[in-house]
């Protein structure tokens, strides 16, 4: 027996009489849902008997309520027709709306309150009797006062009112409980037991000889509202720790970025398709013009684009510094790598960044316009392509738990050679999980870097969805507190 069952049993034992559910709730302080499950369990133990009653209830609809006070349309029409009248005149005299007049005519005819007669080729309405009798109206007005009318006719009249949509019948279910002899005995027994040890009992020693009430172990644990860290942020932290373990230091960059760092410094020509309006969010003007303050890097980037650096042909066009000074929402965390490379890094250096990026897209279960990316770079005199593949293989194993990896050639404007990483996730098949490559010499020389640098980016949200068993990408930033409490 749990606490609420005991409370209910105590109330029933005190009253001895049959009690209704609302009475039991009020007297025991137990909630309705707990009462219902408690009564079920008490009845199974034969501590109480339960009686269920179903009562028919009659209720007037909105239309019925109106007619109860104004009178049924056919009655109002019949009252207006004291001598033969043309139909339109009768309706006007009764003050009926168009809809009411249709109802009035139909029911006045059916209930023989009025008849039609022909005169001079016109159809007239004529009264039938002096007194207008409508059992339906009588019943409707009785119902509104909570009364019924006597006689065998009631049932038929009621059926008509229900059919006319003026009265609704509903069922009212109620539950009553009464204690059994077995229940009374159990209640008496429980009453002698202690439900909680108190400091008082310990001090006075009165606990000695007391019996403590037994717990129902099936229900001993009550639900609890717990506080937790967010499951997705904890996932990102785990990835960070994996990377720290591989010797990477964390870096950050701004969410609103100069096009310069987001694209120009990455050797992406200014007419590159990825720089177009449907591929990148730009910031609405209304601020003082932004500027690229790193004049040395700016000049080098311009040279790389226009004429090339390190023996490159460059993109051979006129590079516009004003375009580079426009603001965009960071579209990839590679912008953060570019900023850090330009600051000057010691050799060797290994850096990573996990951060939010923004790209216009359709919004559905697979795509969202804001997501997390994980980028990393290794700068070292002797770093090479095979070592890049080695890192990718290590990520596949440590981060993705994959045994098999596959490398495909691909294209990024800022890396050459470029490679795409696919992994076989146990039980899920092959999935593309990231892109990587060696930064182009034009980009590195423009940022003042003489050593080769490898770079990689992992699709972190897709991995999170796989790992957390989430199928809708928007759920990663779920607002559902019950979901978050449960994870």
């Amino acid at each position: 027996m749990n606490d609420s069952e005991l409370a209910v049993l105590k109330v029933l034992s005190a009253s001895k009489a049959k009690l209704s559910a609302p009475e039991l709730c009020e007297k025991s302080g137990v909630s309705y849902s707990a009462l219902m499950s408690g009564l079920e369990s008490l009845s199974q133990k034969n501590f109480v008997t339960i009686e269920r009653q179903v009562k028919k209830r009659l209720e007037l609809t909105a239309e019925g309520t109106t007619y109860a006070s104004a009178g049924l349309p056919e009655v109002r029409l019949a009252k207006a027709v004291r001598k033969p009248l043309e139909m339109s005149a009768a309706i006007a005299a009764a003050g009926l709306s168009e809809q009411e007049s249709r109802i009035a005519l139909q029911w006045a005819m059916r209930n023989k309150l009025l008849v039609t007669e022909k005169k001079d080729n016109k159809t007239l309405l004529a009264p039938v009797a002096k007194e207008i009798e409508s059992g339906e109206q009588e019943l409707l007005q009785a119902l509104v006062r909570g009364k019924r009318i006597a006689g065998a006719a009631e049932e038929k009249l009621l059926a008509t009112l229900v059919q006319r949509g003026l009265v609704k019948e509903s069922e009212e279910k109620s539950v009553f409980a009464k204690i059994t002899a077995k229940g009374a005995k159990a209640a008496a027994e429980e009453a002698g037991k202690v439900s909680q040890l108190t400091p008082q009992m310990l001090k006075t020693g009165e606990w000695k000889g007391k019996r403590f009430r037994e717990y129902d172990l099936a229900t001993v644990a009550a639900p609890m509202l717990i506080a937790r860290k967010h499951v997705y942020k904890e996932f990102l932290n785990r990835i960070k720790l994996n990377l720290v373990g591989l010797g990477f230091k964390e870096m950050h960059g701004p969410l609103v970025e100069l096009e310069f760092w987001n694209m120009d410094a990455l050797f992406m020509p200014q007419d590159h398709p990825a720089r177009e309006v449907h591929d990148i969010f730009s910031v609405k003007r209304g601020y003082a013009p932004a500027e690229v303050t790193d004049a040395k890097t700016l000049a080098k980037v311009q040279e790389a684009h226009e004429r090339g650096l390190d023996g490159s042909m460059g993109w051979r066009y006129s590079w516009n510094p004003a375009t580079a000074a426009q603001l965009v929402l960071r579209s990839h965390t590679t912008a953060v790598s570019a900023r850090h490379l330009a600051k000057g890094l010691p050799s060797p250096s290994k850096l990573f960044c996990i951060g939010r990026v923004f790209r216009p897209d359709e919004i559905d279960w697979k795509h969202f316009i804001e997501f997390n990316q994980c980028d990393g770079i290794v700068l070292d005199e002797s770093i090479n392509f095979r070592e890049l593949l080695g890192y990718l293989k290590a990520f596949a194993q440590e981060v993705f738990g994959a045994q098999k990896v596959r490398f495909n050639p691909t294209y990024f404007p800022f890396t050459e050679p470029s490679v795409e990483l696919s992994v076989e996730i146990p039980g899920r098949g092959w999935a593309e999980v990231g892109g990587a490559g060696m930064f182009r010499p034009e980009m590195l020389r423009a940022l003042g870097v003489e050593q080769p640098v490898i770079a990689w980016g992992l699709g972190i949200d897709r991995l999170a969805m796989l790992s957390l068993g989430i199928t809708d990408i928007r759920e990663l930033n779920s607002h559902k507190l019950d979901f978050l409490r449960s994870r």
Partner: protein, 547 residues
């Protein structure tokens, strides 16, 4: 990624390839930068995703050409001799001022059906889009040569000059085309600023096209066409020659006769187009080996390039590469290094474990954030994570006075600004959980973006911490205790100063100063704000910039 469709059987026939399994077929295509996106057995239609650096792979012929190299059945630069035709082309200075580079070619012996003609137009459009940068850098025109009388003249005409453009039934003047014709409106900005506009005409002054906007309906390519004239104009001669070579190589591989034409410039110079001469680039063997982590001999390097349809000869410790004219993606020897790696096969390389040892570490910013997250979770708050992208309506509803950053080209009215504070999002979370059991105590640690005129990018990304306690007896004292305790753990001193704000109940809000620096605020949320969010339970909050 650029998608193309091709008949699988045609591809296999052209490449002379009989892969033993789907696996071998897909891996083979991946080795030449083509990913199989889908295959419809009923129609034999294959969808391939190609990369934007390789416009030469936008046709089944180009893909087959690359595959033959990878399979080793036909290696090195493809050999096509394009003879010179009688067709000549005169370019005048006024037209060249708008489109400085021009080229033409003659294709004979082509046969089209509805499918192949549609494929050709799609390919033209994709080339216009990729290598052509939406026609700005290069634009392409295709015409039925039998309906034209060469030579061709590229010259400037007045805006009143008329012809019947595609998708029109009656003649239109150039100015009408530029202002009213669908294609004219889309590409008109590339035709110069007037008053005269560049037009390509034949010897009878029949229009081929308003360049680079729209062709003449009268000489459009149809299923009856057997000879083609191709014109290209643009702003980058290198890209233009590559684009012309792509189309000419495709037609030659399809069995057509491709001829060059002579272009006359106003200064008397002439040029044969297209120029199929391979470009040369030298690759140092040491550079390639150091970059790849290999010890390949010069001969082995040259062999791998051959499989990429690049002819290479060894010269001392270098390799001289001849790159086919249809490739325009070689800027630096590093581009040859990738070709070497592809020629070897990416999956043939043995990955090596890192030899670079460094100390890893979490940033101080993340450490600070994690400290705050641990503290608040310990204090009984549930962590939430919301989007940085937000909307003005929500921010106004929360009576937040912060200035925020707006997106110029949003895709949704729900996400058109960046959050400057976290509180509106916390209220939104409470709003969406009114059916869930209380107390609801939540927090978020996350980035916000605010204006800062002192920074070169005028915007600053900051790390904020906000918490909300929502239950029947939530009050200011409760969140103040959390803040004091938090500051104590950081070894800092917190002071509260009186604050009047429409967000909060008057007299029950405060500015928060940590070590004398204002970092945020706290308060009991104004009932008007709670009602606006549909929350009918009292709520106390704080938000600070993480010190």
């Amino acid at each position: 990624m650029v998608n193309i469709t091709a008949k699988k059987q045609l591809l296999l026939k052209l490449a002379g390839w009989m892969p033993k399994s789907d696996e071998e077929f897909e891996r083979g295509l991946e080795s030449v930068k083509c990913v199989v996106g889908g295959y419809d057995k009923a129609t034999d239609e294959l969808t391939l995703e190609t990369t934007p650096d390789r416009p030469d792979l936008l046709s089944v012929y180009g893909v087959a050409r690359a595959l033959k190299g990878a399979l080793g059945t036909e290696t090195g630069v493809p050999k096509h001799d394009f003879p010179t035709s009688q067709v000549e082309y005169f370019a005048e200075a006024e037209a060249l001022a708008v489109r400085p580079f021009v080229a033409g070619a003659v294709i004979e012996g082509v046969f089209f059906d509805d499918d192949s003609i549609a494929e050709l137009f799609q390919r033209q459009e994709k080339l216009d889009f990729t290598i052509g940068r939406r026609r700005k850098r290069v634009s392409i025109g295709l015409y039925d040569l039998d309906k034209l009388s060469p030579p061709f003249y590229f010259k400037a005409f007045d805006a009143s000059f008329k012809y019947t453009p595609l998708k029109s039934t009656s003649p239109m003047s150039l100015s009408e085309i530029l202002t009213r014709h669908e294609t004219g409106v889309k590409y008109g900005h590339l035709a110069g600023k007037g008053p005269k506009y560049p037009v390509l005409v034949d010897s009878r002054e029949q229009v081929l096209a308003l360049i680079p906007v729209v062709n003449n309906l009268d000489n459009a390519v149809t299923t009856a066409t057997t000879s083609l004239f191709i014109d290209m104009t643009g702003t980058d001669g290198h890209a233009l020659n590559a684009a012309m070579n792509i189309l000419c190589h495709d037609f030659a591989d399809a069995g057509a006769k491709v001829s060059r034409i002579k272009v006359h410039y106003p200064n008397g110079k002439t040029q044969l187009t297209p120029d199929p001469t391979p470009s040369e680039m030298t690759l140092s063997v040491d550079y390639a080996n150091n970059t790849l982590g290999t010890t390949l001999s010069p001969t082995a390097l040259a062999q791998s390039l051959l499989r990429q349809r690049i002819t290479a000869r060894v010269q001392g410790n270098s390799v001289i590469a001849s790159i086919p004219a249809y490739r325009s993606d070689f800027l630096h020897p590093i581009d040859l290094v990738e070709e070497v790696a592809m020629g070897i096969g990416y999956n043939v390389f043995e990955p090596i474990a890192t030899r670079v040892f460094t100390n890893g570490g979490i940033s101080p910013k993340t450490e600070k954030e994690n400290f705050a997250r641990d503290f608040l979770a310990g204090a009984g708050f549930l962590e939430v994570s919301t989007h940085v992208l937000s909307n003005e309506e929500k921010i106004r509803r929360a009576k937040s006075a912060e200035e925020f950053v707006e997106i110029a080209n949003p895709v949704s009215s729900e996400y058109h600004v960046m959050r400057a504070t976290l509180l509106p999002n916390l209220l939104e979370v409470l709003c969406q959980n009114t059916h869930i059991e209380y107390p609801q105590k939540i927090f978020e640690a996350g980035e916000v973006v605010v204006h800062n005129a002192k920074l070169p990018e005028r915007m600053q990304t900051k790390l904020h911490l906000a918490a909300a306690s929502c239950h029947a007896s939530a009050n200011l004292s409760e969140v103040a205790s959390v803040l004091c305790e938090f500051a104590k753990r950081l070894g800092k001193k917190v002071v509260f100063e009186k604050l009047s704000s429409p967000q909060f109940i008057e007299g029950r809000a405060a500015k928060v100063l940590i070590d004398s620096k204002p970092v945020g605020q706290m308060g009991e949320v104004n009932p008007g704000v709670l009602t606006a969010f549909g929350v009918s339970v009292p709520c106390a909050v704080f938000e600070i910039e993480l010190p």
